[in-house]
C-alpha cells in the first residue's frame, strides 16, 4: 500500500509507473480480498454467537431432548449415513464415467459426454428432491419390498417396508447429485497421467485395462481419494433433496428400508425453521455450526490429500 514512500530510493527498478489511480485500484482489489475474509469470519462468528444459547437448551426448547448433545447426535448419525450411502453408489460410477471420458470414448465424443455429465450438476437440488419424492420412491418401493422379504435377515433390510421414502432413497438421490462432482475431479486427474507411462505400458503389450491398472490408477490414487472426500463434503451439506425425500423420525437405526429413518442436520433445519421460536432457532443454528465444522474438516482433508498428491509428481 506504500505506493509513494519508497519511490525515490530505487529509481532504477523496473516497476511500472505508478499514479494515483493505481493506489485506488490496488486498494479496491485488496479490499475485496479483506471483504471475503470478513464474510467468512462473519459466518463463523454469527453462527457461534447464535448457537451459544442452544448449549443450555433442554426439554421442549431442544425439541424434547434432554440436552443439545442428545438432540444433535441422531442427526449427525443420519447425515453421515446418508452421505456414506451416496458415496457407495456414486464412487464406482464416477470412476467409471471419468474413465470413459478420459480413456475409453473417442476424443470428439468424450468432450460431448463431459458436457452431458455437467448437465447433471446443473439440475437444481430441489428438482432432484421433487423427483425423488414423487417418482423415484415409486420405482424403488417394490425393490425394497423384495429386499425386505428375501434378505430381511440382514439388519440393513429389516423393514417393514411401508414407503419408498427411506434413507436409502435419500442416499440414492444424493449419489446422483455428487456423481458429476466426483466425475469432473476424477477425469481431470486421469487425464493428467503422463502420456509416456501409458504408452510404455501399451508398448509392453498391456491391454487397455492393464494399462489403466498399471499406469493410471497408481498415479491418480491420492487424487481420486481427495475427489471422493470433496464429494462427501457436498453430500453432507445437501439439504433439499433429503428434506423432500426422507420421511424422518429421528431414530438411530441401520435399517435402510423401514419407515423409521434418521434425519440429517441440514434437512432437519429446513423442515423445522418455520416454527422455530426462541431457543429452538438457536438449537437449529447450533446444528448448522456442527455441519459447518464437519464439512470444513472433510473438505480440508480432501484438499490436503490433493495437495500432497501434487507434490509427489
Amino acid at each position: 500500500m506504500s505506493t509513494t514512500m519508497t519511490e525515490p530510493e530505487k529509481p532504477a527498478q523496473a516497476t511500472p509507473p505508478r499514479r494515483g489511480g493505481d493506489a485506488i485500484f490496488a486498494g479496491t482489489a485488496y479490499g475485496a480480498g479483506v471483504l471475503i475474509m470478513l464474510a467468512l469470519a462473519g459466518v463463523a462468528i454469527f453462527l457461534l454467537l447464535e448457537s451459544i444459547p442452544a448449549l443450555s437448551a433442554s426439554g421442549d426448547q431442544a425439541y424434547g431432548a434432554d440436552n443439545i448433545v442428545v438432540y444433535i447426535w441422531p442427526l449427525i448419525y443420519g447425515t453421515i449415513l446418508a452421505a456414506i450411502i451416496a458415496l457407495i453408489f456414486a464412487t464406482p460410477l464416477a470412476i467409471g464415467v471419468a474413465l470413459i471420458i478420459s480413456h475409453y470414448a473417442p476424443r470428439r465424443i468424450a468432450k460431448l459426454l463431459g458436457y452431458v455429465i455437467d448437465l447433471l450438476a446443473a439440475v437444481p437440488s430441489v428438482v432432484y428432491g421433487l423427483w425423488g419424492r414423487e417418482t423415484l420412491q415409486g420405482y424403488v418401493f417394490p425393490i425394497y419390498q423384495w429386499l425386505s422379504d428375501n434378505l430381511g435377515w440382514i439388519p440393513l433390510f429389516d423393514g417393514p417396508v411401508t414407503t419408498g421414502r427411506t434413507i436409502l432413497t435419500a442416499g440414492l438421490v444424493l449419489a446422483v447429485m455428487i456423481l458429476p462432482i466426483i466425475t469432473a475431479l476424477c477425469r481431470e486427474i486421469f487425464a493428467q497421467t503422463p502420456q509416456m507411462h501409458q504408452e510404455a505400458a501399451l508398448a509392453l503389450g498391456a491391454t487397455r485395462w492393464e494399462m489403466i491398472k498399471m499406469a493410471v490408477f497408481p498415479y491418480s490414487r491420492s487424487g481420486v481419494v481427495s475427489s471422493v472426500m470433496l464429494g462427501l463434503g457436498r453430500a453432507l451439506g445437501e439439504t433439499m433433496a433429503v428434506a423432500l425425500v426422507l420421511s424422518a423420525s429421528g431414530v438411530i437405526t441401520i435399517d435402510l428400508v423401514s419407515s423409521q429413518n434418521p434425519s440429517t442436520i441440514a434437512a432437519n433445519i429446513a423442515l423445522n425453521y418455520a416454527n422455530a421460536s426462541g431457543t429452538k432457532a438457536n438449537v437449529l443454528i447450533f446444528g448448522g455450526l456442527v455441519l459447518f465444522v464437519v464439512t470444513f474438516a472433510v473438505n480440508f482433508l480432501g484438499r490436503w490429500l490433493a495437495a500432497r498428491g501434487k507434490v509427489k509428481e
Binding site: G33, E50, G96, Y104, L136, Y273
Partner: protein, 365 residues
C-alpha cells in the same frame, strides 16, 4: 491390421510348429455388436416367454452380454483380452447408469411440468388463490431479483479479489490465506450460508426476520468463491508478455489490468460468472430460511420476504391441503415451476457456453 495379424500368425506357425504363435487370433471388429444383438435377442425371447417388462429384458440381456463376449474372447484371444473386454463392458455400463437419472429427471419434469403451463401460470401470482389456479409470476420475479442482487454483490467482489490474487498478491501471505479461505467457502453447505444470513439479520432485526436482500447475501456467500476461482484461472492464462508490453509503453498498472488483462480474459470471466449465476439460481435452502414464502409479487428486496421458484417448489410439494384436488393442483404447480427453473438454469448454462465460444478466439488460439 487384421490381415497383417493373420499373415504373421500363419508364418509363425508354418515356420516352427513347436513354438507358440507370436500372435493370437482376434475377434472380428463387429464381435461386440454381434454378441450384443444375440444377447438381447435371447433375453427378448425369454422375456416374452416369461412375461417380463422392459427392465427385465434389458438387465438379463446385459448379463448374458457380460458373460458371452468375454467367454468368446477367452476361447479365441486368451484370458487377458477377455478381462479387458469385460472391464470395457462394465465401464460403459457405469456411463449408462449415470445417464439414467438425467434422462429420467428431464423426462419426468417435462411430462409433469408442461401441463401446468398456461397464460395464467406466467401472468398471475398466488394472492387470494385457494388450492387451484393462479400462477407463479411472483416466484419468477423473486428469483430474478434475488439472483440479480446476488450477482451485483458477488461479481465485482469476486473479480477484484481474483485480480488481487493474480496481479498484486504474487503468492504473499495474504494471498495464500485468501486462497485457503476461498477453498473453505467453496465447501460451505448452502443451508449454512442461509443460517449465516438468518443469524445476521436476527441480530439486526429481531427474531425470524424475512428479508429478500438477506437471501441475496446468503447466495453471494455461495457465489463469490466460484467467481474468484474461475476469474483467477482466466487471469493466470493471460500471457505476461501483454502486461510487460503495456508497462514498456508507460501504462500504469491499473490501466494495464483494466484495459489489457481483463479484456483479454473477458470471455472466460463472463462464462465463469454466468455458470455461477446458474448454480445459485436453483439454490433453495438459504432462501427458504431468510427470504421465506410470499403469495404475491414483491419487487423491493429491502422490504420483507420474496417468493422464489425453488422455495415455491419445496413448499407446494410439502404443504398439506384441505382437499385431494388441491394436492393435485399444488403438485402440478410444483412441477411446472421445476420446469421453469430448469429452463432458466439450462438456458444460463447454454449462454455461458455460447459466450465462452464467442470470446475464445480472441484469447490466443
Amino acid at each position: 491390421m487384421a490381415d497383417l495379424d493373420d499373415k504373421t500368425l500363419t508364418t509363425a506357425t508354418t515356420a516352427d510348429p513347436d513354438r507358440p504363435p507370436l500372435t493370437r487370433p482376434q475377434l472380428p471388429a463387429a464381435a461386440p455388436y454381434i454378441t450384443a444383438a444375440i444377447s438381447w435377442g435371447l433375453s427378448g425371447a425369454i422375456a416374452l416367454g416369461l412375461g417380463w417388462g422392459i427392465a427385465g429384458w434389458i438387465v438379463v440381456g446385459w448379463a448374458i452380454f457380460l458373460v458371452a463376449l468375454p467367454a468368446w474372447s477367452r476361447a479365441l484371444e486368451g484370458g487377458r483380452k477377455a478381462v479387458d473386454r469385460m472391464v470395457t463392458i462394465l465401464v460403459w455400463t457405469t456411463f449408462a447408469i449415470a445417464m439414467m437419472p438425467l434422462v429420467a429427471v428431464s423426462w419426468t419434469v417435462i411430462e409433469r411440468g408442461a401441463p401446468a403451463f398456461s397464460v395464467e401460470f406466467f401472468t398471475s401470482d398466488q394472492s387470494g388463490v385457494i388450492g387451484i389456479g393462479g400462477g407463479v409470476l411472483h416466484a419468477i420475479i423473486g428469483t430474478a431479483i434475488i439472483t440479480l442482487v446476488a450477482t451485483l454483490i458477488s461479481v465485482p467482489i469476486g473479480i477484484m479479489a481474483a485480480v488481487y490474487l493474480v496481479e498484486y498478491g504474487k503468492n504473499n501471505r495474504m494471498s495464500r490465506i485468501l486462497t485457503f479461505l476461498v477453498d473453505v467457502m467453496t465447501g460451505i453447505p448452502s443451508i449454512v450460508a442461509g443460517l449465516f444470513a438468518l443469524a445476521l439479520f436476527t441480530l439486526l432485526l429481531g427474531p425470524l426476520p424475512r428479508l429478500a436482500v438477506g437471501g441475496s447475501i446468503a447466495l453471494s456467500v455461495l457465489m463469490i468463491p466460484i467467481v474468484v476461482r474461475s476469474t483467477e484461472e482466466m487471469l493466470k492464462l493471460v500471457p505476461d508478455e501483454l502486461r510487460e508490453g503495456a508497462y514498456a509503453l508507460g501504462v500504469p498498472k491499473w490501466r494495464t489490468i483494466t484495459k489489457v488483462v481483463i479484456p483479454t480474459a473477458l470471455g472466460g470471466i463472463v462464462t465463469g460468472a454466468t455458470l455461477a449465476v446458474a448454480r445459485v439460481a436453483g439454490e433453495t435452502a438459504p432462501l427458504l430460511l431468510i427470504a421465506g414464502t410470499l403469495r404475491s409479487i414483491n419487487t423491493n428486496p429491502f422490504d420483507g420476504g420474496m417468493q422464489t421458484l425453488p422455495v415455491l417448489i419445496f413448499s407446494e410439494a410439502t404443504k398439506g391441503a384441505a382437499r385431494p384436488e388441491y394436492v393435485v393442483a399444488q403438485l402440478e404447480r410444483a412441477w411446472g415451476s421445476a420446469l421453469v427453473l430448469i429452463i432458466i438454469v439450462m438456458g444460463l448454462n447454454l449462454l455461458a457456453r455460447v459466450v465462452g465460444a464467442y470470446f475464445s478466439p480472441k484469447t490466443g488460439r
